[in-house]
Symmetry: C2
Subunit: 719 residues, 2 copies
């Protein structure tokens, strides 16, 4: 919890009586509402807005919160004074820090260090301030305090705060706490999520963010918070990629937004794209009970709008409730003959408030109904306010959500005001009521989701550590097929592979792996192996292996006299499997991000893949597989056998553990993983593992794996 | 043109002085605004609203328009009277027709027949009436006339008309003509599109439709209209499928909305999904010039909202204009130091109207800029009305669109009113301004699209006619592979295929077709040919063909003694091609609808297909091919050769002609069409053609093609 929201005394350092100064506005904002003690601080002393001004905070002594609005260069010294005085909470409104230049960034760091030394919590700098409507505290330079309500809101843009407050005032939308985050030098979104989660006056947590300071912390905070209260986030702006070049499919496909999309979905965040959606959904979530399911009734006084509303409902993933016979009979008995008693329930253009009330009562009682869209259009006889009152009365006691759409304009002014005043969600357009209902339903599912701790497999971590340390030492950046042992150490089955240097070794290895085999020459100088006869397919016995080996050693030097022939690689040829890719890239915000997709054109052309931030749970791994559009191809279609999805899940979980255990892995990919029929497992055929540049011995750094040892699957299939 | 909109005299048949009667409301609506002659008609005579009432229309004589609001059962007689009196335009407000029951439908038909006899044009029945703001005519029972404006609107739902009018009144959105279409007994959407297109006061044609009476007419009317004025349509409600069962992939995949989607796109209709979009886009299109391109500038006084706006712009398919060096220098010189002179141009939170004006002037002059999003957020010093006036002044003369988003609430009330009054498009949320800008851009492209007459190939229509007549005669419903000749007659290359009955014929035919070949038994009783050895693959010479034939004739009777062996089918085996599907189904509204997609999982699992209503132009055929998500697979990826897209285009056009020439074809599919590398053509391997049930000799009707002759491609590949 952030104590600052409950401050009983607030100092305004930089308080002013000069209109146009921020120190003037802040004093005004506080004086207008705040019941606690207000302490103006200004070196000139005297009186400010009738209150005695102190020349320094030291002169006054401790307060619960200091709001600072003085020029940035003198702020560190002032923060130091606050620390000495024993102040623990500061909001720095002033700009002139990191957002300006290097000099400002230094000032900001200085300020943060002082705060840490004194255990001070700091919001800002470069922000609009904070509000807590339940403490009548408007410590911001927005002149009006928000209406009291159940939504907490944090924003990385001051202008968005101003716009939202102005809009919410017009629509009578209420807030509990508001934070303008500014530069987030100390307090960031994660602190606010935790605070809002614990605040008893907050029912909905909402945020406008342009970036996230600590991705891992964000996932933990929001995953916990979203089980208690809905968390709605606008994430604006494209994120930039990490600066290191990518060299895997995973790296190429992972767009700038993939990680946010994955992380938000994994931690139960309701992502919204605009402020209208944010306000629409927040209002519904703050004011309405959650539906038990997705079956709604559309109650209407006109056919056309009900048809459009039905379309949107179906498209959004809601369903129209099938009313029971009893309900339909009751509606039939109580409504005029031409009314429609099927869902949508049309009470006709001349419907009175009483008729709406009767129909609403009836459908609310139906056990098949989870929620109501209460749709009203302006007809000549429509008593809009009366019909609004019906909705208000029912919403006050109903355990099912009732979202209104008074779908008109001028003639609905009174009804709209009434609904806003009584805090019943109302949307001009039925579409927005429906979409809000969908979010209520979505959140009813998120709320109950469990997050078991990811399973820990018993693996040989030391073995992998040694391989990676060795590579670092030698300055090797990329590990290829020769490192399939890494997979083995993490319990991931790999196709039989060997690299051997003599004919005897090769034959022996062939016998061990089993036939048929493919043989490839190993030589750092030869990149197009098939051109020089460096690939032999379909070797079926020891004799053929021997002949192939001898042929390569004899004939390749004739074509490539300069090449060092370091040996040959044998690999079992597989058939009957389906190729999938499992990859990982490091996201600059969230760390290791896994990718799953089907191999070949599915990844390359269709980009049909699914991402998730590691470590993943079993459910998340399964969601990755079932989340691709072409997952049917794994489940058995067109007479094909179903593939071994359990094996893929298991391998995703093991890779999740591997990349979590070794953060120095920058990119990783198994491509392909051959998946066989259900119960028959999967085998990694090839892999690539790239270490972070910074982790490698710089003296030795070269792209060691490329071309030297790595096979690639296109070659494997060449004929 | 519909004369009724310019009526100089209007009779209200069923006029009333009793409040609550529709005849009362209509009189009021007219009296409030209309300058022409108003003639109340009521059998009781006397005076109505101070005007002398006639006991019948005959008593008065002709008027330009009669509005009828009497009980439905006496309407036919009254319409007859109108006809006798020489009245040519009627609006029937009354309900009680087709929408109620059989009896009502009969009344409606009776009424239509009378109208046809007297050459009367009739709107309704069961509607709200019509308006023409430029004739001060409100012949509806909506009490207020719309504001004058440039949007014409037709609606199949009276409630939507009421809601829109109420909303538009609040937002000061103006209309020219409004039609409540009702049951569309005579005047339908096509008549209104034509009328609105020609009306000089209309700049934007808009519609809310639940169905379309005459699909072909609709395509023609809206294709012509959309070149002159933007046509925006909400199509609500799911359409029902034709009642005949479907038996092709095309039929299975074609969803209820596919035909609308295809038709709207082909005729340049801007499809919208909700009334807010309809109003947003209509306003922009009515009030703003069109942009020359999709490069916009976002002019803002705050960073956060500009970032969100940028996101939406990019997602919508707009681009941020790259400002010229000159522009940037000029902005730099004229704006405060911390302003952003890159796009988005941020004139900072304290921006005055003058600063907005300077920046707007500067970016409007930049040749790289096609349009402006004028974004304003409420900051403490913001002079919203002043900044609104700047937009108003510039919008009056600018040749580039300026769409405003005054993004706030209470404090922007004055600015909003000002912009609405001066008819400058303004949107609360920047998102909606951006999306409206996108529609301006979309329409700038639609406006210039050409629609050449589809090419007519020289084909052997008589030959196909004979085959089809013959099938009808024999009661055959489905034609399969044996009808590949139909394709030949339309110039579509087919793979070599024959059906023969003796070993000599078979060998001869094999020599003609060329090797390798596949042979299949032809027998109506055998459905699983491979189970009885009825498929032989890879026949490479006459001997093998002979042996295969003899083997089948000898051994199949042992397994299937009851089966009639009618002969064998030979088909050339192909390799190296890519399989595509070209199909057609009859849509109940628009007629023959073509489908294109890649074969196999692309169609079956990914449903990656594109539809178009036939006949199609060359451009439309090309769009079908490039419109599938996997079109890259035809263009050469991963080292594959590009396929012969020109051949596919050509074949689509020929099929378009075939299905247009023979409307009795109910479904049609070439599956697969094998497409070879660029320049090497394509070959139809199999086809199916289903005739409409009604067209077939009912005595003979049976599913003649099934199992009898048709090969299918799965079998072809079996081993």
């Amino acid at each position: 919890m952030l104590d600052m929201f409950n401050a009983k005394s607030i100092a305004v350092i930089g308080a002013s009586e000069t209109k146009g100064k921020i120190g003037y506005d802040i004093m005004k904002s506080l004086l207008n509402y705040y019941k606690g003690k207000i302490v103006p601080v200004n070196p000139r002393g005297g009186k400010i807005h009738g209150l005695p001004a102190y020349t320094s905070i030291k002169e006054h002594g401790p307060v619960d919160l200091a709001v600072i609005t003085i020029p940035s260069h003198i702020i560190p010294a002032t923060v130091e004074e606050c620390g000495e005085t024993g102040i623990k909470n500061i909001v720095v409104i002033s700009a002139g820090f990191k957002e300006v230049d290097e000099e400002g960034a230094k000032l900001e760091n200085q300020m943060v260090e002082i705060c840490k030394r004194y255990d001070i919590k700091l919001v800002g700098p470069n922000c609009l301030g904070i509000m807590n409507t339940y403490n009548d505290m408007n410590a911001s330079f927005s002149s009006d305090i928000a209406h009291k309500g159940k939504i907490s809101f944090m924003t990385q843009s001051g202008a968005i705060m101003a716009a939202i407050l102005d809009y919410a005032d017009k629509k009578n939308i209420g807030f509990s706490r508001i934070v303008s985050l500014g530069n987030k030098a100390m307090i960031n979104e994660n602190d606010c999520i935790k605070d809002f989660m614990e605040d008893e006056n907050t029912e909905v947590i909402s945020a406008y963010l342009e970036g996230i300071v600590d991705g891992r912390g964000f996932i933990e905070a929001s995953r916990t918070a979203s089980r208690k209260k809905p968390v709605l986030v606008i994430k604006a702006g494209r994120t930039s990629k990490g600066s290191e070049a990518v060299s895997s499919h995973t790296g190429t496909i992972a767009g700038s937004d993939s990680a946010y999309e994955a992380a938000f979905s994994q931690c139960g965040i309701i992502r919204v794209n605009s402020l209208d959606e944010l306000m629409d959904y927040s209002s519904a979530l703050a004011l309405s009970p959650l539906p038990k399911g997705n079956k709604i009734v559309i109650l209407t006084n006109a056919g056309g709008p009900a048809i459009m509303t039905t379309d949107v409902a179906i498209r959004s993933g809601l369903e129209l409730a099938q009313l029971t016979c009893e309900t339909r009979q009751k509606l039939k008995d109580g409504l005029p003959e031409t009314a429609s008693v099927k869902n949508p329930v049309d009470v006709l253009g001349d419907a009175s408030p009483e008729r709406y009330a009767f129909a609403l009562d009836t459908v609310l009682e139906d056990p098949n109904v989870d929620g109501i869209i209460y749709l009203v259009t302006p007809q000549s006889v429509t008593d809009a306010e009366g019909i609004a009152k019906v909705a208000i009365e029912h919403a006050a006691t109903s355990e099912k959500p009732i979202l209104c759409s008074f779908f008109g304009g001028t003639s609905f002014g009174g009804a709209e005001k009434l609904l806003a005043k009584k805090q019943v969600p109302n949307y001009l357009y039925p579409k927005r009521a429906v979409k809000s209902m969908k979010k209520l339903y979505d959140y009813s599912i998120i709320k109950d989701q469990e997050y078991p701790k990811p399973h820990e497999f018993d693996v040989d971590k030391v073995f992998v550590k040694n391989i990676i340390e060795d590579a670092k030492e030698k300055g090797i950046h990329t590990l290829g097929l020769e490192s399939l042992d890494i997979l083995k150490a993490y319990g991931i089955p790999t196709v039989g592979t060997s690299i051997t240097k003599t004919v005897e070794e090769t034959v022996k290895s062939a016998e061990e792996i089993g036939y048929p085999l493919v043989m490839k020459i190993v030589s750092p100088q030869i990149s197009h192996k098939s051109d020089v006869g460096g690939i032999k397919l379909n070797l079926n016995n020891a004799e053929e292996v021997k002949a192939a080996y001898e042929d390569m050693m004899e004939n390749i030097p004739k074509k490539e006299p300069e090449a060092d022939l370091e040996g040959v690689q044998l690999q079992k040829m597989l058939s009957g499997g389906k190729e999938v890719i499992i990859g990982m890239v490091q996201d600059p915000t969230f760390g290791p991000m896994l990718m799953f997709g089907l191999g070949g054109i599915y990844v390359e052309v269709l980009k049909d893949v699914k991402f998730a931030i590691a470590p993943v749970t079993k459910i998340e791994a399964e969601d990755m597989i079932s989340g691709i559009k072409t997952h049917e191809l794994l489940e058995g279609t067109r007479g094909d056998e179903a593939k071994d999805i359990e094996s893929i899940t298991n391998i995703i979980l093991r890779i999740s553990q591997l990349v979590t255990d070794f953060p120095e892995i920058n990119e990783f990919e198994i491509n392909p993983l051959m998946v066989f029929d259900e119960g028959e497992g999967a085998l990694a055929v090839d892999m690539r593992l790239m270490l972070k540049e910074g982790e490698i011995n710089p003296l030795m750094a070269f792209d060691g794996g490329e071309g030297a040892v790595v096979s690639d699957k296109v070659e494997l299939k060449e004929d």
